[in-house]
């Protein structure tokens, strides 16, 4: 089953007054399988965030179609069910928290859906436990750390019980500690609740942990495959201004100096082993 299907999508931001709009996509096609973990990589202005906003009908295609769980995003009547199915987590946790008590914020989504009060309570408690923020349910959000705030934002999305969650650079504003917490939460959601995850990022290390990596460049798909397949195309990545994970970069540099190392070792452990094997042989 596919969770999302993008068919020949074209989109351009409308221009102001007489200036021409900025075209982002011309003909993009992509499918995301249900329950999968897809990382979307790309440099600035390649259309990552624009693509994310297509997935829950914040932006609508100018041409082509976007289907989410079988629903056409252009169909206005399905708008609410689409947004129920696809949750969004944005970069800045401060700008997506609505209420000034953690649990009230998590309740915001279910309240909008018109769910009965006891059911909201249980959803909120469950969501907060899921992200490990249950002890903080009565805190004020502005007193939490960045990683904690982002986890509250994630709880707010899972309280709506979505099938997919699109993360738009959720770790860009966090310190390493917060990044670890948030990534761990995302992985748990994917593994344990079977939520389809689309993770938009520009951290190679985060993408390396996904099941599938899609590289966008100027509105087109430059590479698509497992992390090992994508990151071994180091020359291509360099050409479009990206870098592979450090381990691959190391092997690549050594290969240029005459080594013959495999380029699909994403783990430092595996990379060390490959180096050891090569030196031994």
């Amino acid at each position: 089953m596919e969770a999302m299907r993008v068919e020949h999508l074209s989109y351009s931001y409308p221009g102001v007054d007489d200036t021409p709009g900025v075209s982002v996509f011309e003909d993009l096609s992509l499918t995301v399988e249900q329950g999968s973990f897809v990382a979307v990589l790309g440099g600035n202005g390649c259309g990552k965030s624009t693509l994310a906003k297509q997935f829950n009908a914040i932006l609508l295609p100018c041409g082509g179609k976007v289907y989410v769980c079988g629903m056409d995003t252009a169909d206005e009547e399905k708008l609410i069910s689409i947004r129920r199915s696809v949750g969004m987590v944005f970069q800045n946790p401060d700008n997506q928290i609505v209420a000034n008590v953690v649990e009230e914020d998590v309740a915001f989504g279910p309240e909008n859906l018109g769910i009965a009060s006891p059911a909201i309570r249980s959803r909120v408690d469950q969501a907060l436990k899921q992200v490990g923020m249950y002890e903080y349910r009565e805190h004020a959000p502005h007193l939490l750390s960045g990683g904690q705030k982002q986890r509250v934002a994630i709880a707010g999305v899972i309280a709506m019980a979505p099938k997919c969650i699109v993360f738009d650079e959720p770790t860009a504003m966090l310190d390493p500690q917060g990044r670890r917490e948030v990534l761990q939460t995302i992985h748990t959601l994917n593994r344990e609740k079977g939520i389809t995850v689309v993770l938009i990022t520009h951290h190679m290390e985060e993408a390396a942990q996904a099941q599938r990596v899609v590289v966008l460049h100027k509105g087109n798909i430059a590479a698509d495959g497992t992390p090992a397949q994508v990151f071994s195309q180091v020359a291509l990545l360099h050409e479009i201004g990206l870098a592979a994970p450090e381990t691959v970069e190391l092997c690549y540099a050594l290969n240029e100096a005459g080594f013959a190392l495999p380029l699909d070792r994403l783990d430092s452990e595996e990379c060390g082993q490959a180096l050891y094997d090569w030196v031994k042989a």
Partner: protein, 268 residues
């Protein structure tokens, strides 16, 4: 340092006063204010004072913090007192000096007015000290909901208040950051003439406003993503429900108003 300010000065607690429904507190407060303005004699003032004292005692809010809250109001109190003292006519002249005449009636009236204001403010402090801003807005929304029939956007107003309360600390933090950035580049906010200082604020306000608009835009998108479509069809996690203590509070409030009005009708 700017980050530590408290909003609405809510003291979290578990006393019966804290746990009262916010609507109860608002309605009883209105009743109390009515009683206070109807009161004309020492007896009715004593009743109001008793009501206030018992409420404060039950709330376990230290009297000290209520007194501390009064400090900024000293000027108003003195002003009211002095005005009433000098400009109340009467027969028993106590002091007559140049154009100033102080009568016994004036003294009594001044004391009455000051006590009335003190008691009024103490009660409102008790409300904000024992009620979190969010439940206060909830209570207001629920009390004002009949106005929805007159097309007053009650839900939208309370949503706006909620968001404003939520973003005040965030914006203060931001102001702090911008000020530090400007200071690091040599801006001077502390010295100079008033006009210079006001001018120095412009480079703080401009980025603050731009960032506030950007935040608003992002927040609106995030709210839309979470299926927000206004107040219609919306439910609440925490339903407001009157409990036993609310009944006690209503009964006490009603008794107070009735007693004071009865006393007043007897000219007391």
């Amino acid at each position: 340092m700017l980050k530590d300010i408290t909003l609405g000065q809510y003291f979290p607690g578990k006393s019966p006063v804290h746990q009262l429904d916010p609507r109860t507190k608002l309605i009883v407060l209105v009743g109390y204010i009515v009683a206070l303005f109807v009161a004309k004699s020492w007896a009715s003032y004593a009743l109001c004072f008793g009501f206030l004292a018992v409420s404060i005692a039950i709330s376990t809010i230290p009297v000290k913090s209520i007194v501390r809250g009064m400090k900024p109001l000293v000027l108003i109190l003195v002003f009211t007192g002095v005005l009433n003292l000098f400009f109340t006519g009467g027969e028993t002249v106590l002091v007559h000096f140049w154009i100033i005449t102080i009568t016994l009636e004036g003294v009594v009236r001044a004391v009455f007015m000051v006590v009335r204001i003190l008691m009024l403010i103490s009660a409102t402090f008790l409300l904000t000290y024992t009620t979190s801003p969010i439940s206060l807005t909830d209570g207001l929304e629920s009390l004002l909901s009949p106005l929805k029939k007159l097309h007053v956007p009650v839900h939208e107003l309370s949503m706006m208040m909620c968001i404003a309360l939520r973003f005040i600390p965030t914006l203060i933090e931001e102001t702090d950051k911008i000020m530090s950035a400007q200071k690091a580049r040599g801006a001077d906010f502390e010295t100079g003439k008033l006009m210079d200082r006001v001018k120095a604020l412009i480079p703080i306000l401009v980025p603050l406003f731009i960032s506030a608009f950007r935040r608003a835009d992002e927040l609106a998108t995030a709210m839309e993503c979470r299926c927000y479509q206004g107040g219609e069809g919306r439910t609440k996690m925490k339903l407001l429900r009157y409990k036993r203590w609310d009944m006690y509070a209503f009964a006490a409030g009603a008794l107070l108003v009735a007693a004071v009005i009865t006393l007043a009708s007897f000219g007391l």
